[in-house]
């Protein structure tokens, strides 16, 4: 199956700092999504980004499909950004099934 690797595994930030999370994948994909899992376990959609760049407030994401990686940028981090960030991909002809990376645990301190 497809391999999805996220880095770093853990990240501690001071409030106001910027950070970059990375997702590498081993095969061509037709879907890539970033999620934020809050401390209550809820999975929140951040970006649907099989290619290109998108921005939503302080968050932005870029996927370079030909080089098989995606980046999630967090700017001016806030304590509410704490949680686990997951990258998930879908291979072509995989009928909607997502393969998740191991996640990046982010802790933002005041």
């Amino acid at each position: 199956g497809i391999q999805v690797e996220q880095s770093p595994p853990d990240l501690i930030l001071q409030e106001g700092a910027n950070s970059t999370l990375r997702c590498n994948f081993s095969d061509s994909v037709n879907n890539l999504q970033w999620f934020h899992q809050n401390p209550w376990g809820q999975l929140i959609n951040l970006f649907y980004i099989p290619s290109g760049t998108k921005q939503n407030g302080r968050l932005s994401a870029t996927t370079v499909a030909t080089e098989r990686y995606s980046l999630l940028y967090i700017s001016s981090s806030q304590t509410t950004d704490s949680g686990v960030y997951f990258c998930a991909v879908r291979r072509r002809r995989s009928w909607g099934k997502l393969q998740f990376g191991a996640g990046t645990q982010v802790v933002v301190t005041p």
Partner: protein, 115 residues
């Protein structure tokens, strides 16, 4: 987007018993899935819930342990049978909308603890 209601949100169950989790979507969807997230781990696909036919299970998951029903295009249930403490996990329902945008959406999850 899709609004997904999952019930119960959490439960504590005795070993050897079974729990049925419900997933209701606010619109008809073709593809519906069930995932498991063990403590401190990532999400793993259990099965694809097929409307009107048997679910398609991923390697390592079997129907006897995780029976799934999908009577229509907006509703599905996952049962965790004969539970043991190793089944303590978050179970999540997911849907993929039909169309060019194949974004996946998740329910709020069911946090199961088996004692």
């Amino acid at each position: 987007s899709a609004v997904i209601s999952q019930k119960p949100s959490r439960d504590i169950c005795q070993r050897g018993t079974s729990l049925t989790i419900q997933c209701q979507v606010d619109s008809q969807v073709t593809m519906m899935f069930w995932y498991r997230q063990q403590p401190g781990q990532s999400l793993t696909l259990i099965a694809t819930a097929n409307q009107g036919s048997e679910a398609t299970y991923e390697s390592g998951f079997v129907i006897d342990k995780f029976p799934i029903s999908r009577p229509n295009l907006t509703f599905s249930t996952l049962t965790v049978s004969n539970m043991s403490p190793e089944d303590s996990s978050i179970y999540l329902c997911s849907v993929v909308l039909t169309g060019a945008n194949t974004e996946a959406f998740f329910g709020q999850g069911t946090r199961l603890t088996v004692v």
